[in-house]
Structure formats: structure tokens, C-alpha cells
Symmetry: C2
């Protein structure tokens, strides 16, 4: 049985220490693939700590794909297909937030603070606000984003690599312009249909790659010709799947096979994890310049603030400058400076934390409601630790349409997972998505 | 000899009355193509008005292509190739401004007013600011633009036809998405190279259509396969040519020959006319839904405010909604509401007037400076009544490079017209562009 010495004097919570030790052992092969981990209860008793602490550590390891949970059997180490690229030597972000997960709502947007900052900016340096920024956007904002990413996503980038856009659709346009439309893109199936629709508008050929329970199906991906995969490893919509660490390395390994291959990491709701530590980004473990990272403030702040950004690896940055350096940054300087201060002065972090608490409440309330009805008996909930939705697979003989009708009649807001498949005529999955 | 009765009690200035009467007579054929108009002096004496008044009327008619001026010979009526589409029955905008023409500078931007309005908006209806607008943009802004266009450009549109974008580059992207890249675009030669560069980025085939002295060369346009022409009829860059009314009808006639043909009217500096009344827009005389009108506030207000718009004819609007209706408006609501009030409350008009005065001063100062140097003797200045630049053709044997060097040494800021040709190896035009 594995045994660890824990240090009560360290600043990290105990669950983080356990998580890190097990992760390290799995990476070093001390814990073999398929090996059963001690039960939560036994492990807690052995270490003299609470069951909750072990559970938090195990959940984080499950999230990141180091171990898997088999109902009624326990936890087992997974196979880590570690490529030669880079060991996970970086420290995980020291973030003791355990309450996370969600999407912005009007009443939660810190309007007063935003208005105050904007007013102050408007009373400040006029020349600064009326100076046209470079194509990448205002330096102060890029710098604030870089600092934020370092602290909260363990992503080390220079402001030079960051490009500000007016919403993710604008970034997709830049991606299209950067690569041209001879590249074949891969998107997730099921997935957020808007992404595929936008690529289709550009006459980009899109492959729809099925999701497995730990990320996109690598066998399928390898069997087809695809150059650029556009994925959401932190939290897939709609399945809620978090791409496992093994799958992340496998994706990077796939990408280095050809100079034309790239991965777009769409991290759109990574701020909204409701339990556990954030999963390391693909970008942060990529050392071969294969990952384009994307995120947006329209999801985390307000949909009426159209500011998004992407981080380009050095190789693509050069290409971008040559081809698209003559474009103007599409976001007004007023808002860029306001957002820079909003991040720098800690308001963004506070807002995200408040949102997490809010959505966690919404989620827990939803679960309480579910308990009241028989139809949820034996239902399997998944994807509930991140993002603004979870999926529920029902133990039922009802057709999907009938199931949705019953659930709606009970007063729930849900939609069929079927709906998010590109391929039509899907069988009944008996699975619904619930939004908080 | 033509004779008119003028009405001193009408609100329009006398020169507008004369302009309208002559225009009407030319359109009705009362004044035949090629017919010589009375000399300014004789006409003024006959009507009992000042020579300046007649000159203003003639200049406006020259600008709009109804008459032409032959040095040392006088003014002659031009051939109006009037198509069957629509007579110019609309009233011209009642705008007695005679001082116009220019481009925004930081110190001229009414920052205090802008900041005041934005502060007020931020203190106002929070729910409104946090409500996601439709894909076309905030209704209030589209409504303010429609009202402005009606008053100052004689363009009648409903807010529904207006689509707000984040800068013209964003609009070009929408145009590309709307049409796909199987259409062949025509751009002006010489011209603003950014337009062609952007289309090239989309793999759109571009034809470069030579400019004649009254707009694009129609014979050339008809001799090649082109679907969509992207032009600036109000004031061409860099030649300063204003497309004549005859050429405008010829362009519309060309467009109706095929359902695939459209005209993009890029009206980017129409606000900045330094003399005379604004020329009617192509959009306002199009009754066959063939013109897409575009303009931007980044030129007229500040380059750091990224708000532009286009007006789609009804037929394209339907196509746009179907294909691109799921895109989000890329401009933040804060700025859209601020701009709406800025226009509605008359600040935009005031700003434009102030800019015109400023640029007229700059222009006149430039002309004064030119008079001091021999090299400008016999030089022909053109395009000086609109926009932020004029062209000067020198009477010289100097090579273009040598000419530019001499002019630069004299302390002028200028560039060679040659530079704006897509086709390289141009001969020496002995022509420079001067920016105010």
C-alpha cells in the first residue's frame, strides 16, 4: 500500500500534497498503470486525515486523467502515454480555490467597479486613449493578461505573444486568415456547433472527431487527414469531459508528426471550475510551439464586452506579423485600458471567485431538486465539476423526446445531448444537458 | 442664353438654387450635352448676383459630373448616361456648409464630450448596457446613423439595414463571408492597397481597374470579368477624383446586367468635403438593390474608436441574416450607446464641421507654402475640394524620385502617386500626393 508523509506546515492544502505525490508516482511508474489505489476511507485512516481530503485529491487526479473511478470498485491508475516532449515539471498553479465553475449573468457583473475604472480612465491620460495601439492590442492589457495567466493558469507568455480580438469569432477569422483554407480542421463531435458553422462559412473542410471519455478519440483522429484540431481540453461542451493528461500528451505527440499540424486550445470556461484545482493547459505543457491558446472575456465578464485573446507560439507569431500585421486592433482603447486595470487591480479574480460560488450554489440547488424525483434514480451525472452545465444519463426506456418532455414538465431546463452532434440520426442517448 | 428666376426668400443659398436649376435642365435635356454654359462673370451680371455665387454653383456641378471645366474655354454640359433606373428626383441634402474636407487628429477629437457621454451612459441603465445586442448592433446606434444619413447624405434607410462592425476590416470580412470567394472583386488602380491586400488574404481574385478623370474606366470594367466593384465615388484615394453623376449611372447600369454584380460604395471620407455640397451617394440613386454602402467612425472620430457600419440592400440583407445572423456584434455596448448619443445630440455634426474648418486651414496653409517655391509654378493641383489630401502634377523634367527628394527637402510631406499602383514599374507621373 502506498504511503506518504504529509507536511502540515506547508502552505498547500493537504489534498494538494496528496494529489501531487500520487501524480508524481504515476508519472515515475511507481504506481503502475491499472494498479488499484487504496480506498478513500482506508487511505484517510492510514494518513490520519479526513476522507474529504482524500476525495478532493482523487477527484483532481480523475479530472486530470491520472486515475479513473470505476463505480463500486474504486480508483485505478491510468496509462500515461507520456511523449518525449516535456515532463510535467512545472509547478501547478497555487490556487487553493476549491469552489469553481460557471457562466456570467448580468446581475453578477461588477458594473459599478467597471464603470468606476472606465470613468477614471476617461479622466486620465487623453493622449494615451487616443493613440492607436499596435495590431496586437494595447500593451497594458496584454501585459495584464500575461500576468493573470501566469498566476492562475501557470502559463508563461510574454505580452508580445498575445493578440487581442473582438470576440472569439474575430479570432476564428484571424486563424482562417493565418492558415488559409487549405488546412483541414478537426472539431469535437458532439460539440459547440457555432465553431463548425464558422469554419464552414470560410469554406474550411471540417472533420468531426468523436469524443471518448477522456478527450477526442485519438484512433479516429489518426485515421483521418486533419491538420488543425480545435478543442476544449479544460471542459468539453456538451459532454463535460476534461481531457486527461495522457490524452494531452498524445495530442501533442500527434501534432509534432507534421509541420502543418496545430492544436487550438479553446479555454473558454476554464475559469469556472467548481471543484478541485484547474487542469494544466495544453499550452503550458507544449514545448514544440504547436498550441494556439484562446480565451474570451465575453464569457467570464459580460457578453456585451467583446474582448477575447489568443496566444500564438513563436513560429506562428512571425507568420502572423507578416501576413496580418497591417490589420488594426478591433477593440477600442477605452475598453482595453479599463480591462487592463480591472485585471491588474484584482477585480477580475474577485469576480471569477464570486461567479464560482454562485454557480456552485446553482449546481447544488439543481442536484437537490433532482433528488426529489424518481426519474433521476440511478441517473449518472457527469461533468459537474467544471463549466456551466452537467450531463445526466438516465436509466430509462423512454425515448429521448419523451424523456426531455417529462423533464421539462418537472420544471427543469435541459436539452438533449443528441442535438449537439453534427451527424444527424443519432440514436437515443438518454442523456440530457442541464445548465445552471 | 439660359436664364433663371432666383428667389431671395427661399432658405437655400442662391448658389444651391442655381446649381439645382442647371442640374435639372441638364437632366431634362434643356441644356444639351456639349453645350457651353455662360461665363461666370456674364451669368452673374445677368442674374444680378456675385461671381462667387455662380462659381460655387458651377463647382458643385463639376464635382458631380454634370458639367466640365475646360481651362481658358469655359464650362460645358457633359453627357449624362442616364439609365432607366431612377431619376434624381430626391432633394439634395440641405446642407449649407461650404467649408468641408479632412481626417481626424487627436487634439481635435472632442474627448471631453465623449467622456461625459460615456460617464453618463455608465451611470444610467445598467440592464440596457449588459443586454447582448442583436448581430446588427445596438438599435439606438443604428437608428442614430439612419437619421444622420438622412440629414447629411440624403440616404433613406431603416435601422434594420444597418450592420455595425468593428472597423472596416471587420466589414470586409463580413463581405467575404457573405459572398464567398468565388466572386471576382474589382478595386481601383491606383488605390488604397490595404483593400486589395485584405481581399488577397481571403484568396479573393482581384481585378485592378484603372481610374479615368471621372471615376473607374468603364470600358476596362466591361472588358473583364468582375462581379463586385469596391470603389470610393465620393473621393478617390489617391487621385482625388470624384465620380461623375454620369459615371455613377453607368456603374449602376453595369451592375444590373447580372444578378451576381454589386457595388461596394466605400464612403470613408465623404464627411470631409472642403468646398461645395456633398455629392449624392451611389446608394441614394440605386433602386435595384445593387449598392452596399460602407462608412467608418474610425476616420471621422478617432482611430482608437473602432466602429464602422455598412448598409445592405434588402436582397442581401436576407442572405446575410441566414448566413451570418448567428455572429455576435463585435463592438461593446458601452461604446455603441455612447456613439448613438454623440450623433443624436449633434456632437458628431459639430465635430465634423470643426474638422472641416481645420483641414481647410491646413490646406490653405499648404497652398500658401507652395506659392513660395518655383517648383510649383505651372503645377496642376487636383482633388483639393474633398478629403484629406490633394494631388499635384508638376511641370518638370525631374525623375519622380528626384522630384520627391526636392519637395521633401523644401519641408513638404508628400508621397509619389506611383506608389499606390498595384502594377509595378509605372512610368514617372511627376505627380505627388500632399496630406494636410
Amino acid at each position: 500500500m502506498i504511503s506518504y508523509e504529509l507536511d502540515n506546515t506547508r502552505s498547500e492544502p493537504l489534498y494538494v500534497q496528496i494529489y501531487e505525490k500520487i501524480k508524481c508516482d504515476i508519472e515515475l511508474g511507481e504506481i503502475k498503470s491499472g494498479e488499484k489505489l487504496p480506498s478513500k476511507r482506508a487511505f484517510a485512516a492510514q494518513l490520519g486525515i479526513s476522507v474529504i481530503t482524500v476525495e478532493n485529491a482523487y477527484n483532481q487526479l480523475v479530472c486530470e486523467g491520472y486515475i479513473r473511478s470505476v463505480p463500486k470498485k474504486g480508483y485505478f491508475a491510468r496509462t500515461i502515454e507520456k511523449s518525449a516532449h516535456k515532463p510535467v515539471t512545472k509547478e501547478l498553479p497555487i490556487d487553493t480555490q476549491t469552489d469553481e465553475n460557471s457562466v456570467t449573468e448580468n446581475e453578477l457583473f461588477p458594473f459599478t467597479v467597471w464603470a468606476k475604472l472606465m470613468r477614471e480612465e476617461l479622466s486620465g491620460n487623453q493622449r494615451k486613449l487616443l493613440t492607436k495601439p499596435p495590431f496586437e492590442g494595447v500593451y497594458e492589457l496584454r501585459s495584464a493578461i500575461a500576468e493573470h495567466l501566469k498566476r492562475f493558469r501557470n502559463i508563461s507568455v510574454t505580452p508580445d505573444q498575445i493578440i487581442i480580438g473582438a470576440g472569439t469569432e474575430y479570432l476564428y477569422m484571424l486563424i482562417n486568415l493565418l492558415f488559409g483554407n487549405n488546412y483541414i480542421f478537426g472539431v469535437e463531435e458532439p460539440g459547440y456547433s457555432k465553431i463548425a458553422d464558422i469554419y464552414a462559412n470560410y469554406n474550411i473542410k471540417c472533420e468531426h472527431i468523436p469524443m471518448s471519455d477522456d478527450g477526442v478519440d485519438m484512433d479516429y483522429l489518426k485515421s483521418i487527414k486533419t491538420d488543425i484540431v480545435h478543442i476544449s481540453p479544460s471542459h468539453h461542451f456538451p459532454t463535460g469531459v476534461i481531457t486527461s493528461i495522457g490524452k494531452r500528451y498524445a495530442l501533442l505527440e500527434w501534432a509534432v508528426q507534421s509541420p502543418d499540424r496545430y492544436i487550438i486550445e479553446d479555454d473558454y470556461d476554464s475559469e469556472f471550475r467548481l471543484s478541485g484545482k484547474p487542469v494544466p493547459s495544453l499550452f503550458s505543457i507544449d514545448v514544440m510551439d504547436k498550441v494556439i491558446y484562446m480565451n474570451t472575456f465575453s464569457k467570464s465578464l459580460s457578453s456585451t464586452i467583446r474582448i477575447s485573446y489568443m496566444i500564438l507560439p513563436a513560429t506562428l507569431l512571425e507568420k502572423f506579423r507578416k501576413k496580418l500585421g497591417f490589420y488594426s486592433c478591433p477593440v477600442s482603447t477605452f475598453e482595453q485600458y479599463t480591462l487592463a486595470r480591472f485585471i491588474d487591480e484584482g477585480y477580475f479574480e474577485k469576480h471569477i471567485n464570486r461567479m464560482r460560488v454562485h454557480y456552485k450554489k446553482c449546481r447544488n440547488h439543481l442536484f437537490e431538486q433532482m433528488k426529489k424525483f424518481d426519474i433521476f434514480k440511478n441517473a449518472e451525472i457527469s461533468g459537474e465539476n467544471a463549466g456551466l452545465h452537467c450531463t445526466v444519463k438516465f436509466d430509462t426506456v423512454l425515448s429521448d423526446n419523451k424523456l426531455l418532455e417529462e423533464i421539462t414538465n418537472l420544471g427543469f431546463k435541459a436539452s438533449l445531448i443528441k442535438k449537439y452532434y453534427h451527424k444527424k440520426n443519432q440514436p437515443d442517448y438518454h442523456t440530457l444537458i442541464f445548465f445552471y
